[in-house]
Amino acid sequence: MAKRNLPKKPLTGKRLKNLILNVVKNPFNMIVLVSLVILFCLIVIPLLTMVKTTFVMAQSELRRNPGAHVGQFTLYYWRYMLVSNMSKAVLWEPLLHSLVCGALTTLISVPLGSVLAWLMIRTDIPGKRVLGLLVTVPYMIPSWTKALAWLSVFRNSTSGASGFLEGLGIPVPDWLAYGPIAIVLCMSMHYYAFSYIMVSGALRSINSELEEMGEIQGANKAQILRHITLPLIMPSVLSALVMTISKSIGTYGVAANLGNRIGYFTLATKMRTYIDNGPQGVGYAMSLVLVGLAALIIFGNQKIVGVRKSYATVGGKGGRSTLMPLGGAKVPLMAFLFIFLFLAMVMPFFVLIMETFQVTTGGGYALSNLTLYNWIGTVDQAQKYTNYPGIFRNPEFFSAAWNTVRLSIIASIITAFCGQFLGYISSRGRGRWYGNLTEQIVFIPYLMSGVAFSTMYFSMFSRPHLGGLIPSLYGTFTLIVLTSVVKHFPFASKSGTANMLSISTELEEAADIAGASFWKRMISIIIPLAKNGFISGFMLVFISIAKELDLIIIMMTPTTRNLSFLAFTYSQEALNQMADAISVVILLFILVCYIIAHAFGADLGKSWG
């Protein structure tokens, strides 16, 4: 007998009363209800509002659309973007640039990260502890500081000051200093870490008995790699690939720093121009294109490899893993690693740090060219260069630093708390409608690149709603906090779900039977057990927000700007040494945070920021 064939129960007064009591008396139901309403307001409505904005005539566009009136339905923005004589410059060229940069970045970073992971996990390469740490350092560094580091090495006269190479007398052409090559290389140096983290996780979970079995069957090393190891890690490689391409298409900071000067725009950078200068509707339409692109890539991936993901759990009982001796290949591989680390980390950051002490960039490291001005100088010491004092004497710096710390602390506390909460709902509602719905809504911000997401919030909250009940949040710190919180929901709720799944429901049921109410269960059982997961989730969100640039760049006003934005502005104003100095401060801040996070047992591999 199927359920629907059950005789329908008559709705008596008693039954109705009990049905209502069953729902109302259970605080969990209320919490689910409230959360769904909030998620709906914070994610679904802004998305719909943005979609709507692209179809509604705005005041600022009236002069270009004679006869139209404000609020009228219009296809103007979409036409402007898709089929006008501007559309090549607005959409197709930036889109092509985005795709090319994304594809090339993926092409470099996925193999690079995978090979590094294999070397670190499965071979007997010496010095693993140190190397393993060094390989993940680039990931801790915000991607836009890499762009600054790149500039400090390759900068040429096009941007008014020379970099390290020009200082040595080596001419650097524009096509190398700026544009796609620079963008691709900088992004690769950042996003290879995705592949490294995911593939090394997969490799660690593969029981080496699987490979040994292949050996017993008579397969040689190449055959084992080809037929056993590779297929097993393939799902992780593919998800790393999808993440890399969808992230790199939407990256703003790198593309803006390295592309804008020579007029090389990607979808993300072009979009910001439109948001800033109008027509804004076109900017919003472009961000919808970005969302669609990301959704397409991610769902395409799920359709193609969805089922194979289960490989990741092939663990077997023996966690023992025998390492592959590299033999004669050890020396060349070590050399490769060292050259890689030197080029990707040591040199650019050495140059970046040194540049903060230079009078003229590219002027060499002679004592006469070294100064502490950029750090602690006063305005009258160097009036001919700049109007700004050294960063430690600049109130702007301290206000930005305070904003960074304030934003990171407030937003990450809220995010981590919400994450655990949403995780609780998703984990306890697995397979039920509210659990699935929560997971799906929470996933939406993941589809959006930082710039696209903040654009959405910008368009939603730049004017009051509900007759002033929600005031205009334009230019407020609250809006930046709100944006940072909601954008990090997917990651925070993922870690919250994992945390909550590790707490067996039977522990709660046992308390239920003992007579503990829902709130009592929360306080005595769930919170004590979730504490550690909460702290590590908090630290990872904290770091991610501290280094964030793309997400909040649109919302910055003089009172709310943070360190990343200040560095970006200085760099755009050709105050290179000061931009570098701020980057160095952020680097140190983030490294200290990672060390603290690590002490709390936070796992870098779980942070997908």
């Binding site: 199927a2 359920k3 008693k14 039954r15 049921e509 046992a510 239920d512 039977i513």
Partner: protein, 372 residues
């Protein structure tokens, strides 16, 4: 102590019908075991009784008080049902010491501190784990954790104690110790116990009654020995008993109220008094004879009632010997106490007491002749 009555309980997970019209009465003070293979609904039934699951249909009363009335959408909260549960995973709170684990429920009942201490220590003593009271669950072995879980469940003096496969995570030796322990616990507390297991030995050794489940339905409710001696259908017969029961195909017909059966075991006439209420088809029909291995005697010399068979395999295991016999094309097992030795292919005679044979209707699979 309490009497539980389940009436017409139906439970669905989505479109999956996991409990089908369950009707069960558990008498006051009974040790009722819910037995069946995994996925048959026994744990779900336990969770329905505990209040952790809400069935879509049916009524449940404890001591005449309505706890579930699906028609009125009324479900009493678990804590209002006067019961306690031991989970298969034990579900000990890892952040609390053994003492705190046991005291938690008592604190919630706002018991005075001295009373809590007395109750906790009493239940710790009863389970003989008082020396571990300040340890955390992770610092205990599986058997010790099991004892803590039981101590926690009995500390609140529940009228009804529910146990969900509590011994399945223990090794074989500990399991036998805990079986004895649970039997004594049942007698000392006098509580009604509902015990879920897939292990027939546990069911047969401890229960006062067994409810045998099959695919979400109750198949047979009987005392352990009745269930063993007269399983209600072929599936139940196959499930209960180790080594498994022997099945031999035959042809049967009713002759003057008696059942006449022909098979490789020879010709038998079973008196009408041994037949069940099942309707018996008219004319000749296929039947299955079922016979427990320990009911088959082996004679090395020809005996009058013996069936000539040959020895196919011989497995002495110290305290008993399992012999595989072959009669025509049918093979069956015989279990002999002690250490016997037979040559392979040796000619022997199987001696069978026909009163001990069960006969099933092959088509309906139901029992038509009881063993007495």
């Amino acid at each position: 102590m309490s009497r539980i009555e389940l009436k017409h309980i139906d439970k669905f997970y989505g479109s999956n019908h996991v409990l089908r019209d369950i009707n069960l009465v558990i008498e006051d003070g009974a040790f009722m075991t819910l037995l069946g293979p995994s996925g048959c609904g026994k744990t779900t039934t336990l969770r329905v009784v505990s209040g952790l699951e809400k069935p879509q249909n049916g009524i449940m009363t404890i001591d005449g008080v309505e706890m579930i009335n699906a028609d009125d959408a009324y479900y009493a909260e678990p804590s209002k049902r006067g019961l306690n549960l031991v989970f298969q995973s034990y579900a000990l709170w890892p952040h609390m010491t053994v003492y705190d684990n046991i005291a938690f429920g008592l604190k919630i009942q706002k018991m005075p501190k001295s009373e809590i201490e007395k109750r906790v220590m009493d239940s710790l003593k009863m389970m003989r784990i008082e020396i571990y009271k300040d340890r955390y669950p992770t610092e205990l072995s599986g058997g010790q954790q099991q004892r803590v879980a039981i101590a926690r469940a009995v500390a609140s003096s529940p009228k009804l104690l529910l146990l969900d496969e509590p011994l399945s995570n223990l090794d074989a030796k500990l399991r036998i110790d805990m079986r004895a322990e649970l039997q004594r616990l049942h007698r000392d507390l006098g509580t009604t116990i509902i015990y879920v297991t897939h292990d027939q030995t546990e069911a047969l050794t401890m229960s006062t009654k067994i409810a045998l489940f099959r695919a979400g339905e109750l198949n047979q409710v009987a005392t352990p020995m009745e269930l063993y001696n007269n399983p209600i259908d072929l599936e139940a017969a196959d499930f209960i008993g180790n080594p498994r029961i022997n099945f031999v195909d035959g042809r049967a017909r009713l002759v003057g109220g008696d059942l006449v059966v022909k098979s490789e075991l020879g010709d038998h006439t079973f008196p009408a008094a041994q037949l069940t209420d099942e309707t018996i088809p008219s004319g000749e029909f296929d039947c299955v004879l079922a016979l427990r291995p320990e009911q088959i005697g082996i004679a090395t010399e020809a005996v009058e009632t013996g069936i000539p068979v040959s020895v196919y395999a011989n497995q002495p295991a110290g305290s008993e010997t399992i012999v595989t016999l072959k009669a025509g094309k049918d093979e069956f097992l015989a279990k002999q106490l002690g250490q016997m030795h037979y040559e392979l292919d040796q000619k022997v005679w199987a001696v069978i007491d026909q009163d001990k044979i069960n006969v099933y209707n092959k088509e309906t699979t139901r029992l038509i002749k009881r063993a007495v």
